[in-house]
Structures are given as structure tokens and as C-alpha cells.
């Protein structure tokens, strides 16, 4: 072994989005008190632009086909975390059979948080309602009972304590997007703030 060469060469690691650093822990970010949501009253609801509602109780969510994505996540506060493993229900499954002509959604959460995304970004195996993290029920401080998981966008789009999505004809900015943050939030294009 040659002195001066230690560990894995950096080229073995896939690149991080610009301006991000790796963290091993899982920082807790929160814009308010952590809501306590009992599972027997928990629900997820998709509301279309015509007002039609599609509802799932906790038991009904658990009865749907489950997926276990392993993904990297990227927070706009610049930390990234590799190979996080989740379990949840794909938005493809939840949106299957939902009749809509809308192009955007506004996700809303227990506690009042909102965030906006294009509907297409919730499709194609890229978004989940996740209830399990690293094999254990998702802790409340990380968004349990269930959070949105949309790992290809900055993590503020992955709404904690998600309660539902409203399908909207136009892009309606959410909690952080009305206060300067980007409407789309692609970490690879470093879309942190409006105009980025």
C-alpha cells in the first residue's frame, strides 16, 4: 500500500448537487410545533380541481402495494444524506384512477404546512407517501406518521405530516415558496430561491 493513499478514491462517490455537503446524521428541520396525529384519525386525501375527493385511512394506505425506495436526499440548508431507505406507497398508485386535468399540486400537512409541485413530478416512480424510515415507523420529528418523499427535489418539497394533495390548474406557491424559495427546487440546478 502506498503511503498517502487512504480510503476510497473520491471518484468512487457519485457527485453531490452543487453547494451540498454530506452528513451522516438526520437533521430535524421544522417550521413549527410537531403535530401529534393519531393513526385512527389519520387520513390522506387527494382533492381534484373539481372538488372530487379520494380518501385513504391509515389501514387503507397500509393495504395498498408498498415500495421500499433507497434514495439520496438533499436539504436546501445544504446537507445531503445518501442511501436513505424508506417504505411507502407510490403516488402512481394513489393517483391511479384520479380523474384530473390539473398540472400542479399543493401538498398540505397536519400543522398547516404547504408546498407546491408539478403533478408530473409525483408520477413515474419518483414520489411516495412514506411511513417507514430505515425499517422503523417514521418518527414524528421527521414527519411521521407519514410524509411526502420526493427525493429528486430539495427536501422542503417532501412535506412532513402530509395530509393530502390538492390538484390545481396553476402553480400555487406554498409555505416557503411564498417567502422567497423556488417554486420547483431542483437541487442539481441549485434552484434555492426565486429567480435561481
Amino acid at each position: 500500500m502506498s503511503p498517502g493513499f487512504q480510503g476510497r478514491p473520491r471518484s468512487a462517490e457519485p457527485a453531490l448537487p452543487p453547494g451540498q455537503y454530506l452528513t451522516q446524521d438526520f437533521p430535524v428541520l421544522s417550521a413549527g410545533p410537531t403535530p401529534k396525529v393519531p393513526l385512527d384519525t389519520w387520513e390522506f386525501v387527494i382533492t381534484t380541481e373539481t372538488g372530487a375527493e379520494y380518501r385513504w385511512s391509515w389501514d387503507e394506505l397500509m393495504a395498498l402495494p408498498q415500495e421500499t425506495p433507497t434514495v439520496d436526499i438533499h436539504c436546501v440548508t445544504r446537507w445531503s444524506k445518501r442511501d436513505t431507505t424508506w417504505q411507502g406507497v407510490s403516488l402512481d398508485t394513489l393517483l391511479d384512477g384520479v380523474d384530473t386535468g390539473a398540472h400542479y399540486v399543493q401538498a398540505h400537512s397536519y400543522g398547516g404546512y404547504t408546498t407546491n409541485l408539478p403533478l408530473d413530478d409525483l408520477r413515474g416512480g419518483r414520489a411516495w407517501v412514506a411511513h417507514t424510515f430505515e425499517g422503523a415507523p417514521l418518527p414524528a420529528e421527521h414527519g411521521g406518521p407519514a410524509r411526502l418523499l420526493v427525493p429528486h427535489l430539495y427536501f422542503w418539497k417532501s412535506a412532513k405530516w402530509v395530509r393530502g394533495i390538492r390538484l390545481t390548474p396553476t402553480d400555487e406557491p406554498g409555505f416557503w415558496e411564498t417567502a422567497g424559495y423556488h417554486d420547483y427546487g431542483d437541487p442539481w440546478r441549485e434552484q434555492r430561491y426565486q429567480g435561481d
Binding site: 430535524v28 417550521a31 413549527g32 410537531t34 440548508t77 417567502a179 434555492r192
Partner: protein, 97 residues
């Protein structure tokens, strides 16, 4: 359960001093959600977040959001009906408008 994840509103003094010429540490604000008037220093500020979120200590309504990028700042006060700022008596003032 006591929520210890917020700071008191005194921590807003520095960040708001960047934006305002007046000292807001002695200002009061009225919550748009519940109507309570109280010192801005009494807000519960959630700072482990992409910005600062100041919430009413009475109803937890969001009264203030402050986001800072390297070259811009955004202040959202839609949750505050008004700010009441003490003014010095010994200074000329315009009188009732």
C-alpha cells in the same frame, strides 16, 4: 408536552436590524389569527428551518417569516395585523394624518 424546539423572539433583533432602521425589539404585533397583541420578543421562533418562522405564543399562528439568501431577504408579515412601534416623544412628529 413542552415543545422546546423554538427560541424566544428576542433572537429576531439581529436579523430584523438588517432590514429596519427602527429597533423592533420593543415593538408589539397583533396576531392576524387570534387577535392577541403582544411583544415581538414574545414570539416563538423556529430557526431550524430554511428561514425563521415566528409564531404567536397564544395560538401558534405564523406571524412572521424571514428568509435570507446571500443577496436578498424576504419578510412575510401577513400573519401580523400590525406592528406597534414605540416612538420617542421628544421628536417632531407629523401629527394625525
Amino acid at each position: 408536552m413542552t415543545d422546546m424546539s423554538y427560541l424566544d423572539g428576542n433572537m429576531l433583533d439581529g436579523p430584523l436590524r438588517e432590514l429596519f432602521a427602527v429597533d423592533l425589539s420593543t415593538a408589539s404585533g397583533r396576531c392576524e389569527n387570534c387577535g392577541m397583541l403582544g411583544p415581538m420578543a414574545g414570539l416563538r421562533v423556529y430557526s431550524h428551518a430554511p428561514g425563521l418562522v415566528g409564531r404567536c405564543p397564544n395560538c401558534s399562528g405564523v406571524m412572521l417569516r424571514l428568509v435570507r439568501s446571500p443577496d436578498r431577504a424576504w419578510l412575510d408579515l401577513r400573519g401580523s395585523t400590525y406592528l406597534q412601534v414605540p416612538m420617542p416623544l421628544d421628536q417632531p412628529h407629523p401629527g394625525p394624518l
